[in-house]
């Protein structure tokens, strides 16, 4: 008798197995999100929005009300829903291209307005769905389809520090963290706290998840884990970056 690993209750069985590539980190992030939704008992309150790119494959992932939007536009759609109906818990799910490139103005503005929504951004260092081009998060020297000789930081800059930026521009009450699919338990904790922050009405909540893309990285299992655990963390520090409540004053 085979034992299936437990799936979160809010996952939609009819759409499983899911559509992501083997070894993709999206499934792990969505598992952490699913567990957080289950533990908080908010399946009937959540409105889930997904972006364009690989994240759109989650459009029928959960038994929660879901809308798949345009590239970069999930943040304003969820903002619009939350403003019109503050009773829902809005989750905007996107990749690094959607959040840090084409939708950067929306992320910045939602953060500065302290929108009571939760943004979950999956960082896999490149554009997956379109075939592996350079993203704002591509590591220096990393080869992609549009940086075939490696990312040249002189020409294209350094990887975007998304959570650090969001932490810098959000008012008090925001929650900002960076987790990783290499530590799903911790990631689930961050996502749960982000959702609790929205439930408490404190402010904007943002979790970046370091994730994997063996298809476009062209890595085997061992190299994939090495990249996410050792290479990505050189630039992307895992942990909580901003938590609600007044900061302690200097000298106290």
């Amino acid at each position: 008798m085979s034992v299936q690993p437990a799936m979160p209750k809010c996952w939609r069985m009819e759409s499983k197995p899911h559509k992501f590539c083997p070894g993709c980190g999206h499934g792990l992030v969505l598992k952490a999100l699913g567990q957080a939704i289950d533990e908080l008992g908010i399946q009937d309150k959540v409105v889930f929005g997904c972006d364009i790119g690989c994240s759109l494959l989650s459009w029928d992932f959960f038994n929660v009300d879901t809308v798949q939007t345009h590239h970069g536009r999930t943040t304003p759609v969820i903002t619009g829903i939350k403003r019109a109906n503050p009773g829902v818990l809005g989750i905007a799910y996107m990749g690094d291209g959607g959040g840090y490139a084409i939708g950067a103005q929306h992320l910045v503005s939602a953060a500065t307005r302290n929108e009571r929504i939760t943004v979950i951004l999956v960082n896999n260092t490149q554009y997956g769905m379109t075939g592996g081009q350079m993203a704002p998060t591509t590591l220096p020297g990393q080869k992609t389809e549009t940086t075939p000789y490696g990312r040249d930081i002189q020409a294209t800059g350094y990887p975007t520090q998304g959570p650090e930026m969001v932490a810098a521009i959000t008012p008090e009450g925001a929650y900002v963290a960076r987790g990783t699919v290499a530590n799903v338990k911790q990631l689930k904790g961050f996502i749960k706290k982000a959702l609790e922050n929205q439930m408490a009405g404190n402010g904007f909540s943002f979790v970046e998840a370091l994730s994997t893309c063996p298809t476009n990285w062209r890595t085997n299992a061992e190299e994939t884990w090495k990249f996410v655990e050792q290479e990505m963390t050189k630039y992307f520090k895992v942990g909580e970056i901003k938590v609600p409540g007044p900061r302690e004053k200097e000298g106290q």
Binding site: N63, D65, V67, Q68, I81, R83, V88, S109
Partner: protein, 362 residues
């Protein structure tokens, strides 16, 4: 429960932008999302001044992409939501409106046309016809009302919410900078007192009950795996649109029965067209007047009837043939000769139309 914004009927004298804000209030619009752009700004100004009294909401967004997509969100939440824009803002608005078309979302957008291309003028034009009727990547599954007077701005802003929610196509009220900024008399009314029932709204997301248990979850998408899957969806949408088109299409016409030449115009220019036709009739010219009120869908049958009866159509517009292209497509194969009177980005007077007709008729 806040009191109704308008009780009884009331004669007022105000700018078109103020009229739109009042009409949206009267229609029961619950939330406006917007980004500043001239000449629509005062719609937001009046809305934000009036809304606390009537328990409505507003969000100023970071750009028109966001204004459009947050309005989409407001509609998804089941609210009567709207935005207003113009010119380059209308260009950005086409992206969210293509999503509204793809998901049949009853978004209402008020457009106050300004000069184009690019920044051009903040004042006036009829150069946003092509974009407002057929913008975005798609098939133009939308409704566009082109208003000519402040009374119509009031009437059709209210109507736009009902058309949108009845047929579930994004709906535009197409005004212009002249209508936005000039003052004019009109009659305010509460729609209910005129027997106008507001079409009820309903949420797409955030509905009661446990999704997957008490009810199926809402799973809205605009992405499809294969061509045929998209084609099946579009076939239904296009059939719905074709069925609704004759119910939605509106026009205004007179003196077309025996007319040798019919002046075709829309929006504020149709006021010049109307005055010119009356003057020319008095002077003995056999001319008629035809004005599509809906630019999308066009009143195709009525236009074709006129285009088969009159010898000539004179298309008059403050653009370089944007209405003309719509008219020619609708009147394809009809017998009338179609003549242009185009002044892109500039207003047109009755005197100019009279002179042009006399030039044609000799």
């Amino acid at each position: 429960m806040p009191e109704k914004p308008i009780q009884g009927e009331k004669r007022v004298f105000m700018t078109g932008n103020e009229v739109v804000a009042w009409a949206a209030l009267a229609a029961g619009a619950e939330i406006m999302y917007g980004y500043p752009i001239t000449p629509q700004n005062e719609i937001m100004h009046y809305w934000t001044r009036l809304m606390p009294k009537y328990d409505r909401k507003f969000l100023q967004t970071e750009d028109e992409l966001s204004a459009g997509f947050t309005t989409v969100g407001g509609v998804l939440a089941g609210r009567r939501a709207f935005t207003a824009t113009a010119g380059p803002g209308n260009t950005l608005m086409q992206e969210p409106m293509s999503m509204a078309e793809a998901m049949r979302l009853p978004v209402v957008v008020v457009v106050q046309q300004r000069g184009g291309p690019s920044t051009a003028t903040v004042i006036y034009s009829q150069q946003e016809v092509t974009m407002t009727t057929l913008g975005g990547n798609g098939e133009g599954l939308r409704v566009v009302y082109s208003t000519a007077t402040h009374q119509e701005l009031f009437d059709y802003t209210i109507k736009a919410f009902n058309t949108a929610w009845k047929y579930r196509f994004p709906t535009f009220v197409l005004g212009d900078g002249y209508q936005a900024k000039m003052r004019e008399s009109l009659t305010f009314y509460d729609p209910a007192e005129r027997g106008i029932e507001m079409v009820p709204t309903e949420p797409y997301v955030g509905k009661p009950g446990m999704p997957g248990v008490d009810r199926p979850p809402t799973h809205l998408r605009n992405t499809y795996n294969v061509e045929e899957e998209l084609y099946e969806v579009l076939k239904d949408y296009l059939a719905d649109y074709a069925k609704a088109a004759p119910e939605i299409a509106e026009y205004e016409a007179f003196d077309t029965e025996d007319a040798e030449l019919v002046v075709v115009s829309h929006g504020v220019v149709s006021r010049a067209g109307k005055a010119a036709v009356k003057e020319l009739r008095e002077a003995g010219y056999k001319v008629g007047y035809f004005r599509p009120i809906t630019l999308r869908p066009l009143p195709v049958d009525q236009l074709r009837e006129v285009a088969n009866k009159a010898g000539q159509l004179l298309v008059v517009e403050s653009a370089n043939g944007q209405l003309d292209r719509l008219v020619k497509e609708a009147a394809y194969g009809c017998s009338a000769e179609i003549l242009p009177m185009f002044k892109p980005g500039v207003g047109i007077t009755a005197e100019e139309v009279v002179a042009r007709v006399k030039e044609i008729k000799g």
